[in-house]
Amino acid sequence: MLRLIVRRLLFIVPTLLLVSIVIFLLVEVVPGDPGRVKLGPYASAEQVAQVDHQLGFDRPLAQRYVRWLGSFLTLHWGDSWNLGVPVFSLTMQRLWSSAQLAALALVIIIPLSILLGVVAALRRDGIADRIITVTSLSLTVIPEFVSGVVLIVLFAVTIKIFPVSAVAPAGSGPFTRIYHLILPAIPLMFVELGYIARMARAGMIEALDTAYVRTATLKGLPRRRIVVTHALRNALAPTVAVIGTQIGWLVGGLVVVETLFNYPGIGKLMADSATLKDVPVLEATVLVVAAIYMLSNLAADVIVALLNPRVRFGR
């Protein structure tokens, strides 16, 4: 078990290194001269050269990468070109805001979608199943900004139940803050709903079709016991794995939702820094997201392993 975690962690390190190289190339090399990018098209050649020298952009590529990685690992992330504030504290602060929004969405949608998926599996091919399947599939594939816009039009513009702004006025209590986050969280939930529910349904159907569920049924066990103890336990493993990968989708969704609702999270920070060519911020946010993504996948794998006695007993 421990070996599994260590092995996976050891695997994450080279992957993150490769990702960092790719990001470094994409952000600092592909767009052209970084000094030019920072100062814009109207600066003189001397000014550009001076900035390049200041920031070390005139050194050889490999040296630049090593220096950049070194300062990144020692948490010297520099200042934002656009906002002028330290990148590290900016990123962490925005990450915290995003985490609140994501947590709200996940806390509601994970249990709900698993429940819907299981209900659909138990009522396989019945009306409940069809409604759940078609609705969740449709909601899942609609981009977050589309459902977000529809929600705003319906519940913030036409019927004014929810505020248009995702940010509560300064000094509000926790309930007000959650209240402001509900509307932005719903599009995130929609997208997650389909994936998780579909996986839960498929896992459950597969489990219900197994020979061991047949054994349990023909032993004359009560339906509840069959569903909960025999089927559900085995059905949840693929669902948990999917939830791990969904954290990544969720980050993509955060970029969109935060932009739409003007919410100061890491997603909006990333999108803005990409638009405004704020190189240090873009690099930091992307690497942080990649790390979170891989760690959440690892966490999912560990939980899946814990559900499987074969892995627990080291075979």
């Binding site: 091919d125 197994t210 020979a211 061991y212 047949r214 054994t215 349990a216 049924t217 023909l218 032993k219 004359g220 066990l221 009560p222 016991r225 103890t229 025999h230 336990r233 085995n234 559900l307 499987n308 006695p309 074969r310 007993f313 075979r315």
Partner: protein, 689 residues
């Protein structure tokens, strides 16, 4: 209707435990109604063991599922009745059905590995029955579960309770399933192919357990199997099913020694009995195919495949009691029951015998080794095997799963690269990989695979498959190629129009014929047959075995014939090699290997074959313990952990020497030949049965 009347007549006054009357079950597949069980009636008395025999698709498993009231969503019971202890099973409420399952009837399944929940401890799974049927507390239920494991002779039952299914061997898993089925003291125990897929020695172990339990429990047993020998050994009464109907039933022994339905006779004639040789008697296949479900079946369903069929048979179907003998409690659904015994004479058609030319070795394998790596584990799949195959000889390769026989074959073909040793073919060293062998050797060494459903590319027509093989292996093009394809098809008896068909449109037997033709496309000199008939129904098996024997005899070709079926191997082979845990244990002439002195493992394997030979029942030698893991094989003699003739420390500490018996027969054991021979002859003579 009359079936029911008849059965009342044959059974005594005791009320039957199970009584099925005119049961009909239909499946819907792709919008078509497929009648799978078409009016089956049978009764099983208290404490009786009833065997239901038939090939795949005859409806026997569906019948079992219908009586457990556990049909898939696309299956429905169309008519008839099922009564268990007088209670109408088709009318019971859901709640009552739940009570009945587990307490009044219980089931043991084909594959114990999947029948147990992988995520629950064995103890919890057995205890459930006591908790939910007996209302016991968790602790009490676990205690009862321990006792249940004791009852099925599980070693160390207390520890087993805490194990997960994957930590048990196949035989132990099946013991757990049986313990679970018996936990509720059922009136009826349904065993659905309880040993299919298990190794021969494990199968024997499970059958011994069932036979022994049969005496101790008062449940009636319904045993379902495709294996006549197994049913004969276990059951008092037998019913033979064909295409959704019972065609014949009666006391096991009487029915099998004097079959009265041509299908029963066909089944008996198409499997080699143990001891039968190809040069003494031929196998007689049942021609044709199982009728397609749902197609209009007129007359006797078996008539298209029956050599006795007359116009009567094709016009109307006989009743099950058309022929009956109340005294012997026999019935048969046939107009020509009296002629069935006469079919036997027609069966004496002899398969041509092949004489092995002894000069030189076609194939010489020396010190061959193959290691697989799975993460950090090293699995030695073949260890230091040396053997030779003479030109024109059939070498049978026998062993349980994991013995390394298929890996050995893979090394010979070059599909697997051996790690050690050498293979010489026609006097020359063979390159290890198939990619380096060159067209001449590719042509010469070919293979027939096990699974007819995957051996042919489903996207290609049969003709294209043969054409490509003729082109690559025979170097023919254009008209010559076409002629050669047609010639091959003729030799394997596939009609020319079937060359247009894709594998999905061919029957299993036809697919295997095409696969055989493909192997013979370039006139090979060595063909490896890896269980070529095991995946086929017995009635088709025979024709494939006959075809292989005929092709071999006509061209002086050598075979390496791999099979787990000792009777088949003995029937076909000139010499036999026995493998156990990656090592060669014994090799010798086909008859020599099966007579003393023989390796104790061979002796045990041989004793494990269920037989229909009532005159000469064999003494069973139970093998102890489970097959050890290949990644940590036992020291000394690899067989010592299970050997019934173990001498002592020498077997554990020292690798056994080869004992030469003469005439190319040798085995690997610490017991010298004459001593072993005496032991084994004495054991056979002292046989109590």
């Amino acid at each position: 209707m009359s079936d029911a009347r008849e059965s009342r007549l044959t059974i005594g006054s005791d009320a039957p435990v199970l009584s099925i009357d005119d049961l009909r079950v239909t499946f819907v597949r792709r919008d078509l109604d497929l009648p799978v069980v078409r009016g089956v009636s049978l009764e099983i008395g208290a404490g009786e063991t009833y065997g239901l025999v038939g090939e795949s698709g005859c409806g026997k498993t569906t019948l079992a599922m219908a009586l457990m009231r556990y049909l898939p969503a696309n299956g429905r019971i169309d008519g008839g009745s099922i009564a268990l202890d007088g209670e109408d099973m088709l009318a019971v409420s859901r709640e009552r059905l739940r009570e009945i399952r587990g307490t009044k009837m219980a089931m043991v399944y084909q594959d114990p590995a999947t029948a147990l929940n992988p995520a629950l401890r064995v103890g919890a799974q057995i205890a459930e029955v006591y908790r939910f049927h007996g209302g016991l507390s968790k602790a009490d239920a676990l205690e009862r579960a321990r006792a249940a494991l004791e009852r099925v002779a599980m070693p160390d039952p207390a520890a087993t309770l805490r194990r997960y299914p994957f930590q048990l061997s196949g035989g132990q898993q099946q013991r757990v399933v049986i313990a679970m089925a018996l936990a509720g003291d059922p009136r009826l125990l349904v065993l659905d192919e309880p040993t299919t897929g298990l190794d021969a020695t494990v199968e024997a172990e499970v059958l011994d357990l069932i036979a022994e339990l049969r005496e101790r429990i008062d449940a009636s047993i319904l045993l379902i199997s495709h294996n006549l020998g197994l049913v004969a050994r276990m059951c008092k009464r037998v019913g033979v099913m064909y295409a959704g109907r019972i065609v014949e039933d009666g006391p096991a022994r009487d029915l099998l020694t004097d079959p009265r339905h041509p299908y029963t006779m066909g089944l008996l004639r198409c499997v080699p009995r143990f001891g039968m040789r190809k040069d003494q008697a031929g196998l007689v296949p049942i021609p044709g195919f199982l009728p397609r479900l749902g197609s209009g079946l007129e007359g006797c369903v078996f008539s298209p495949r029956c050599e006795l069929a007359t116009d009567d048979c094709r016009e109307s179907e006989p009743e099950l009691d058309h022929w009956s003998d109340a005294e012997r409690a026999r019935r048969a659904r046939c107009y020509h029951s009296d002629q069935v015994s006469g079919m036997r004479a027609a069966a004496a058609e002899r398969a041509p015998g092949a004489a092995a030319t002894s000069a030189g070795g076609a194939l010489e394998i020396s010190n061959l080794g193959k290691i697989f790596r799975d993460g950090r584990r090293r699995i030695v799949a073949v260890n230091d095997v040396s053997l030779a195959v003479a030109p024109g000889e059939i070498l049978g390769l026998v062993g349980e799963s994991g013995s390394g026989k298929t890996t050995l074959a893979g090394c010979v073909t070059g599909l697997l690269k051996p790690d050690d040793g050498s293979i010489r073919f026609a006097g020359q060293e063979l390159p290890r990989s198939v990619a380096q062998r060159g067209s001449e050797r590719l042509r010469a060494i070919q293979m027939v695979f096990q699974n007819p459903d995957s051996t042919l590319n489903p996207a290609w027509s049969a003709g294209a498959i043969l054409g490509r093989a003729v082109n690559r292996l025979g170097g023919l093009r254009g008209a010559a190629r076409r002629a050669r394809v047609e010639d091959l098809a003729r030799r394997v008896r596939v009609e020319p129009q079937h060359l247009e068909a894709k594998p999905g449109e061919l029957s299993g037997g036809q697919k295997q014929r095409i696969a055989i033709a493909r192997a013979f496309a370039g006139s090979p000199t060595l063909v490896i047959c890896d269980e070529p008939a095991s995946a086929l129904d017995v009635s088709v098996q025979a024709s494939i075995l006959n075809l292989l024997a005929e092709l071999q005899a006509s061209g002086g070709i050598s075979y390496i014939f791999i099979s787990h079926d000792l009777a088949v191997v003995r029937y076909l082979s000139d010499r036999i090699a026995v493998m156990y845990l990656a090592e060669l244990m014994e090799i010798g002439g086909a008859e020599a290997v099966f007579t003393p002195p023989q390796h104790p493992y061979t002796e045990a394997l041989m004793s494990a074959i269920p037989t229909i030979d009532f005159a000469h029942p064999r003494r069973r030698i139970p093998l102890r313990g489970a097959v050890p893991s290949l990644s940590a094989p036992p020291s000394g003699c690899r067989f010592h952990t299970r050997c019934h003739r173990m001498l002592g420390a020498v077997c554990i500490e020292q690798e056994p020497p080869w004992q030469d018996v003469g005439e190319g027969h040798a085995y690997r054991c610490h017991i010298p030949a004459d001593e072993l021979c005496d032991l084994q002859v004495a054991a056979a003579a002292g046989d109590p049965e």
